[in-house]
C-alpha cells in the first residue's frame, strides 16, 4: 500500500514538470507585447528599457530555464502590472476558486447520487424516465445559462440571494454561504446530472449480480439490499467520476466566476491573458494544474482503501 502511494507520487512529479514546461511554452508564444502595454501607462519610458526590466529581451530558452529554476524554488516571479509577486496575487485567489469548486461538488453529489439511486430502483418506470430526462437536459445546459436563470428568479425577482460578489468564508460564514448558493447551484447541478446518470447505470449493473439475487432470495427487503450490499460497490466508479468532476470544476470555474463576479483564480487568468500579464497567467495555470494533479492523486489513494483489488494488482 505504502509502496503504491509512493510510486503514484513519484509518477506525478515528472508529469507536473512537463505540465509546467507546456504552460510556459503556450503562454510565451501568445502574440502580444506586454512592454507595449506597460509603455502605454508610462509616456516617457523607452520600450527597450521596459522590455529589459521585464526580462523580455532574453531568448526563449533563457527565460524558460530561468522561470523553471525559480519555480522549483517556489518563486513564480512578479506580475508585470500589479506591482506584486505572482505568488501573493494567486494566494488570495486560490481559496476563492477552491470554495466555489467544493461547494459545487457538494451540490453535485447530494443531488446526483440520490437521484441516480432512485432512478435505478425501478428501471424504466415513469420516475426513472423523468429523472433521466431531466438529467439529460441538465447535462446539456451550459452553467452560465442556468446561472442566469437562477439569478433572474432567485436574485432579481425573489431577492433571496445576492446576484453577484463574494465574501471570504473566514470573514463571515453566513454572507459567504448566501453568495455561494447560486453559483454553486449553477455550476453543480449540471454535474449532478452527470453523476445521476452514472450512479444509475452503476447501480443497475450491481443489482443484477448474483449476490444481490441471493440476498433477495433470502427475503431481505429491497431497501436493506440497496443500503447494505449494492451501494458500496456501486459507489466505486462514482468515486473516480467525482475526482474527474472536481478537476473539471477547478478548471472550468472561470465561467461561473466571471458570471457572478467572483474574484477567483479563473477570473484572474482571464483578465491577465487580456493584459498579457504572462507571469500571472503561468502561475495561475500552474496552480490549477497542480490542484488537479493532487485531486487525481487523492482519488487514486482513496481507491486503494475502498477497492482492495487495486492493492493486489500493484503487488503483481
Amino acid at each position: 500500500m505504502f509502496r503504491y502511494i509512493l510510486k503514484r507520487i513519484l509518477i506525478m512529479i515528472p508529469t507536473f514538470l512537463m505540465v509546467a514546461i507546456v504552460i510556459f511554452c503556450i503562454v510565451n508564444i501568445i502574440p502580444g507585447d506586454p512592454a507595449a502595454i506597460a509603455k502605454g501607462n508610462d509616456s516617457v519610458g523607452d520600450i527597450n528599457l521596459i522590455r529589459e526590466r521585464m526580462g523580455l529581451n532574453r531568448s526563449f530558452l533563457e527565460r524558460l530555464g530561468d522561470w523553471f529554476i525559480h519555480m522549483l524554488q517556489g518563486d513564480l516571479g512578479d506580475s508585470y502590472f500589479l506591482g506584486r509577486s505572482v505568488l501573493d496575487t494567486i494566494k488570495a485567489r486560490i481559496p476563492v476558486t477552491l470554495s466555489l469548486a467544493t461547494s459545487s461538488l457538494i451540490v453535485a453529489v447530494i443531488v446526483g447520487i440520490p437521484l441516480g439511486i432512485l432512478a435505478a430502483l425501478k428501471p424504466n418506470s415513469i420516475l426513472d424516465t423523468s429523472i433521466m430526462g431531466i438529467s439529460l437536459i441538465g447535462v446539456s445546459t451550459p452553467e452560465f445559462f442556468l446561472g442566469l436563470i437562477l439569478m433572474f428568479v432567485f436574485a432579481l425577482n425573489f431577492k433571496w440571494f445576492p446576484s453577484s460578489g463574494y465574501t471570504p468564508i473566514t470573514e463571515d460564514f453566513v454572507k459567504w454561504a448566501r453568495h455561494m448558493v447560486l453559483p454553486a447551484m449553477a455550476f453543480g447541478l449540471g454535474q449532478s446530472a452527470y453523476i445521476a446518470r452514472l450512479m444509475r447505470s452503476s447501480m443497475l449493473e450491481i443489482m443484477n449480480q448474483d449476490y444481490i439475487v441471493t440476498a433477495r432470495a433470502k427475503g431481505q427487503s429491497e431497501i436493506m439490499i440497496v443500503l447494505k450490499h449494492a451501494l458500496k460497490n456501486a459507489f466505486l466508479p462514482i468515486l473516480t467520476a467525482i475526482g474527474m468532476i472536481y478537476a473539471l470544476l477547478l478548471g472550468g470555474a472561470f465561467i461561473t466566476e466571471s458570471l457572478f463576479r467572483i474574484p477567483g483564480a479563473g477570473a484572474l487568468i482571464i483578465s491577465s491573458i487580456r493584459k498579457f500579464d504572462f507571469p500571472v497567467v503561468q502561475g495561475a495555470l500552474l496552480f490549477v494544474a497542480a490542484a488537479i494533479l493532487i485531486v487525481n492523486l487523492v482519488i487514486d489513494i482513496l481507491y486503494t482503501f475502498v477497492d482492495p483489488r487495486v492493492r493486489f494488482e500493484t503487488k503483481k
Binding site: T15, M18, V19, V22, I23, I26, V27, I29, I30, P31, G32, L136, I137, V139, S140, T141, P142, E143, F144, F145, L148, I149, M151, F152, L156, A247, L248, L250, G251, G252, F254, I255, S258, L259, G266, I269, I270, I273, R274, V281, L285, V288, A289, I292, L293, N296
Partner: protein, 283 residues
Amino acid sequence: MKSKKNFLKRCSKNYSMMIGVIVLFIILIVVLSVPIFSHTDPNKINYESMLQSPSVTHIMGTDSFGRDLFTRVATGGRISIAIGLEVMLGTTVLGVLIALLAGYNDKFDMIVMRLMDVMMSFPSLLLAIALTAVFSNSIEGVSIALTIAYVPRTVRILRSSILTLREETYVEAAQAIGVKPITILFKHILPGTLPVLIVQETFLFAYAILAEAGISFVGVGVQPPDASWGNILSDATTLLHEAPWTVMFPGLAIMLTVLALNLIGDGLREVLDPKRLKGNAND
C-alpha cells in the same frame, strides 16, 4: 449493404435518438436558411426599436441596439455550429492519424501517450483559452484551439480500441499471410474502431459547442461583430432584468442543440454497441 439497412432500422426504432435527429435538423434548417432568406441585417442598429419584447415583427424581440434577436441567434448559430463541426472533423482526422501511428510504432506510441497524458492532466477549457490567445480569437483560432484541447480524448479512446483490435484473430491472420502493417491498420483495424469513433465524435460535437459558448461568454472566444451564441448571451447578461428574452433565446438555442446531439450520441451508442454488432461483424 445489409448491415447498413439494419443500422438504419435500429436507428429509426430508437425514439429518443429520432427526436434528437429531428430537433437538430430543424435547428440546422433555421440556422442555414434564415441568414439567406431574411431581409433583416443581424448587425443593423435601430435605436427606435430597442429592447422590444417578442412580437410578430420580432419573434425573439430585439436587443439593446434594436437588432432583431431571431436573425442574430440564427446567424450566431451558424458560427457556433460551424466551430462545433470543425472541431469534430479536426479531432477525428488528427485523432485517427495519431492513434493509428501510435498503434503502428511502439516508440511513437510511448512519446505521444506521455504528451497526451500531460495534456489530459490540464483542464481542457483553460488550455483552449490559452491556445485561443495564441491563435487569435477569430473563428478559426477558436476552432484550432478547441481541436488541440480535445484531441487527446479522441486519441485515448481510439488507441485503447486499436489495442484490443490488434489482438483479434483476423488481424493475426492478416499478419500471418504477410499483409503490410500499414494496410492492416487502415483496412482491418480502422473500420473496427468506427462505432467507438462515431459515438465519441458526436459527444465531442456537443462539448465543442458548449466550450465555444463558454469561452466566448467570458469574452476570450469569438469577438463581435461576429455573433456566436456565447457572445450574444454575454452581451445580454446586463439586460437580464429589463429584457430577459435576450438571455432566454440564445441560451435555449445552445441547450436544444447540445441536447439533440446528446440524444443522438446516446442513441448511437445503443445502436452501435459492439456486443450487439458482434453477430454480423463480417457482413
